[in-house]
């Protein structure tokens, strides 16, 4: 979640409640389980880590929701690194989904390119696992495990196709609707 919040700040400095609203819009029903304090916990951690700075807006100095958060240079570097990072075997679909949305919103990277990079990496892995699976004798236990890995990779690859189709036609829509 930290990375997704950082990447959203790359578009523009924001209030906590605004970030939360964007996250919930992106995640739809999946975002409903996020409680209202979670975004502030994340922002405080990011601030301590030196990745964001917090400025109080003029006029209402003591109201916490008037805080405006912005990326530090270190935060910007972390966002750039996160965008190009490929995550598997613990594929966090929500994280990847937010990555595409944030990249498009801040015009940091082309979501279609991010999908292509992820696909290349998964195909390399699929190749390696499949070669191992083909080399296993029929009925081997390891073969069964490898088959499971192959099926998961294929499911992820199909979802990436759907992502590519959605983002190929979404040049003018930010946040993926």
């Amino acid at each position: 979640m930290q990375d997704a919040v950082l990447a959203m700040l790359a578009k523009e400095p924001s209030h906590g409640y605004h970030l939360r609203a964007r996250l919930r819009q992106c995640l739809g029903p999946l975002g409903e389980s996020m409680n209202s304090g979670q975004i502030y916990v994340t922002l405080t951690r990011l601030e301590k880590a030196g990745l964001v700075v917090c400025e109080r807006a003029d006029g209402l100095p003591e109201r916490p929701e008037r805080k405006v958060y912005a990326l530090t240079p270190a935060g910007q570097r972390r966002v750039a690194a996160w965008l190009t990072e490929v995550g598997w075997p613990k594929p966090d679909l929500a994280e990847f989904h937010l990555k595409l949305a944030a990249a498009a919103a801040a015009r940091l990277a082309d979501p279609v390119e991010l999908v292509a990079a992820q696909r290349r990496e998964l195909l390399r892995r699929l190749r390696e696992v499949q070669q191992a699976a083909l080399a296993e004798p029929a009925g081997s236990g390891a073969g069964l495990l490898l088959e499971g890995v192959v099926l998961r990779l294929r499911a992820d690859l199909r979802w990436l196709d759907a992502c590519e189709r959605a983002w190929s036609g979404a040049d003018d829509e930010v946040e993926g609707g």
Partner: protein, 246 residues
């Protein structure tokens, strides 16, 4: 890359279908070089032009523009006769629907290309037996295609494609009509061919088939949009791949 190592080469390849308003560029300015021993897969959605590309490379169709070279020889300008001879000698085809001759046995189907290329009946028979053994169907040599499963038929078709020791095997959706077990049998054969140094070009929309390749190109609207080397090994090994390293 040494030019003589390139088995199939395409330059500015274009193929258009239809006329006037409904004119479509099925293949749009494609450049490609397939070196000896490479397994290349072409992936893309239906209608992206990948089958047309394969037909152009194998001389089954002629391009609207551009050039095709097979083993250092330009083939798109050949006469029909010379083109047919080039296909027989240099290219092996594998199709989604197998395209076996239903009236002939498995062995006779595999013999056919060798006989057409002028080899003796005895040589052709011997070669067919070896090839059927190679695809695990020695005991099905006398069966008619209708007596074989889909996977077995495709393995016969692969044996037939290899009959004249082609420079390149071109396969168009080779597992498109097969179930999982039969797909694995075919993938195993491709993997063996790959390790034996056979040059292969496979068109597919099955990620599983695509992942057998050394190199994968993605095609959209007649053009290549991505070109990936798959042969890199994962630094953490197989265990790392499934999270055992964490």
């Amino acid at each position: 890359m040494n030019v003589s190592d390139v088995v199939v080469r395409a330059r500015g390849l274009v193929k258009t279908h239809g006329q006037g308003q409904s004119r479509v560029r099925a293949v749009d300015e494609v450049d490609l070089e397939v070196p000896q021993g490479q397994t290349l897969t072409v992936m893309g959605p239906s209608g992206c032009g990948k089958s047309t590309l394969l037909h152009l490379l194998g001389g089954l169709e002629r391009p609207t523009g551009g050039e095709v070279w097979v083993a250092g020889r330009r083939v798109d300008t050949l006469s029909e006769r010379a083109l047919a001879r080039m296909r027989r000698r240099s290219v092996g085809f594998v199709f989604q629907a197998f395209h076996l001759v239903e009236e002939l046995s498995a062995a006779e189907n595999v013999e056919l290309p060798a006989l057409l290329a002028g080899r003796s009946r005895r040589q052709a028979r011997r070669c067919a037996n070896l090839l059927l053994e190679r695809v695990g169907l020695a005991d099905r040599a006398r069966h008619l295609p209708s007596q074989l499963s889909g996977g077995q038929r495709q393995r016969v078709a692969i044996a037939r494609a290899l009959a004249n020791e082609p420079l390149v095997v071109l396969a168009d959706e080779p597992t498109g009509n097969l179930d999982t077990a039969a797909t694995l049998d075919v993938l195993r054969i491709f993997e063996e061919l790959r390790s034996a140094g056979q040059t292969l070009v496979i068109v597919t929309h099955d990620e599983r088939v695509a992942a057998t390749a050394d190199r994968l190109v993605s095609m959209r609207d007649g053009m290549f949009v991505d070109d990936t080397r798959l042969a890199a090994s994962h630094p953490r090994g197989l265990g790392g791949l499934i999270g055992l390293g964490d």
